[in-house]
Symmetry: C2
Subunit: 316 residues, 2 copies
């Protein structure tokens, strides 16, 4: 029993709504609409974005405008735009488009990697060496993302050693940041602890980023566990944009404004303004044309008070 | 930084869907439908219910059948049914109906108490003495519930001393259990810590029950904080039934099945079967005729696997 759980005093949030959110939505946004959403988030103080993916436009039509979107946001300064890429071809396109970092992605489970990028985990890792050579001296940073880190929708449990093996390879390729993807919302507090402690053992140079989905409602409980472990990097999507392709009706990424609200209330700095995030969430809601899962943008911040004389009584 | 946050090995969950959930829904269920839902929850292993309120039927039409509902469930053994009551008249009706415990309720903030039960906090507390005398020797337990413990929708912040004062009075009246109500979803992890530590100081004989709403998305993050403090009693509603009368579109109580899922995954015993809770959530969804906010009942438990050949790829 203790008074205050230890936690980092400052947390970095990467906004993944434009990529992970939108690619799982059925409504397709135009490049201009995406840029409007990104600018609203920049106004709120967001400094890092996973903006898009350079993957096959046939496989992910929602992100077919990757290069155009990067071009549309070229005037924005002091903000880091990353893009996911599965292989050398994607990295070449990302480099040409002018992103700040290239995020190489691979799954921790073989069947998900096969389904996702049609090759084995080792084949993915081998192809990453060529990307690392391509990026050398380019000024573009290499980062890693590991999907299905906490469980695979096809295989079930994922061995922590598989996550550690891939993370070590990313560290060898020079990555400082590696994102642990909870692709289908299978992370739990004990798994967060196990995986973070293992990474600290096998890849101590890495700074892990926790990427949770709220598919089973416990996304922010997992963030609490990450904070207690001192993890200071999280990925989230505005409004909770996105969904889960394996569970109709389930939600996707944890919602950025709910995360900012939680961190604000815990006295943890993010550099992001909650009111600005709520405005950005309203932009996202308007563009998608449906209510999004996030809560703070519906209820307002904690001290949004009601007029005592104007509301119905709740009784009890 | 630590490996495992301390937490209680066993947690007691009180299901409040039939009371706090239904009184905030616009759809009115019949007594038979409520009994069907309660029986599905009993089958899942739920052992404690906040079943209804004995309040004015004009003020809360959804709970006008309080006595009839208690009568309909008389054959169920080994389950504790409690009912909220605001005053002596309510307690007399609850006693006559045959509940296992009477939960006296009052708000920690004056304006909410005035709005809710049309009297001051001190007037509520004074009336409770008569209820305590009524219950003496009756075999019916007296419990307490404090609304707006973490914030008031009219006044904003609520002084921790106001919560402690009321809790001490409940302890003097012989209550062992007092529920701390997060009536409109204003609880945060630091407030949970502050209030729990204060109660341990001023009313050490009490076992506090945490009653969170997910209005701002951080209900289960607050549960994580409660667990870290060793609190072993929580209230939740099946499916996340309910809503917030002050924030249209906002959710109500934390969802019972999501809570059971989180605790199961943390290795904390509840005595409740998750599959049974998902079945009960489906009953609730059918009765309400709308999708409910809970997630696990949509996505299925963690290891609900997909057929690799049958689903669309997610890419990244």
């Amino acid at each position: 029993m203790h008074d205050a759980t230890p936690n980092p005093g400052r947390v970095h949030i990467t906004e993944v709504g434009p990529r992970d959110g939108l690619q799982n939505e059925t409504v397709l946004l135009s490049t201009l609409e995406k840029a409007e959403l990104v600018r609203a988030l920049v106004t709120a103080g967001v400094k890092e974005f996973e903006l898009t993916s350079f993957v096959s436009p046939r496989a992910v039509p929602a992100l077919a405008d990757a290069a155009e979107l990067v071009a549309k946001l070229k005037d924005i300064e002091g903000v880091h735009f990353s893009a996911l890429v599965p292989n050398l071809r994607g990295a070449e396109r990302a480099l040409e488009a002018g992103v700040d970092s290239v995020v190489l992605f691979v799954s921790a489970s073989e069947s998900h990697n096969a389904k996702n990028v049609n090759c084995s985990v080792d084949q993915s890792l081998a192809s990453f060496e060529r990307v690392a050579r391509l990026l050398e001296g380019s000024g573009v940073e290499l980062r890693g993302a590991i999907a299905t880190c906490f469980g695979c929708p096809f295989e079930g449990n994922v061995d922590v050693a598989a996550v550690g093996h891939i993370a070590s390879r990313f560290a060898e390729l020079g990555a400082r940041y590696v994102s642990l993807g909870d692709t289908t919302g299978m992370a739990t507090p004990p798994l967060v602890t196990e995986r973070i402690l293992h990474l600290r053992d096998v890849a101590p140079s890495l700074s892990p980023t926790l990427h949770f989905h709220n598919t089973r409602g416990i996304g922010l409980a997992n963030v609490m566990q990450g904070l207690a472990l001192g993890v200071d990097r999280y990925e989230s999507s505005i409004g909770g944009l996105g969904g889960c392709p394996f569970a109709p009706g389930a939600t996707g990424n944890i919602a950025s404004e709910d995360l900012v609200y939680l961190l604000d209330e815990m006295g943890i700095e993010t550099g992001i303004d909650l009111d600005g995030m709520i405005k950005a969430a309203h932009v996202a809601t308007r563009l998608m044309g449906r209510p999004l899962p996030a809560q703070v943008s519906k209820a307002g911040p904690r001290l949004s008070l009601s007029d005592c004389s104007a509301v119905a009584t709740a009784k009890g």
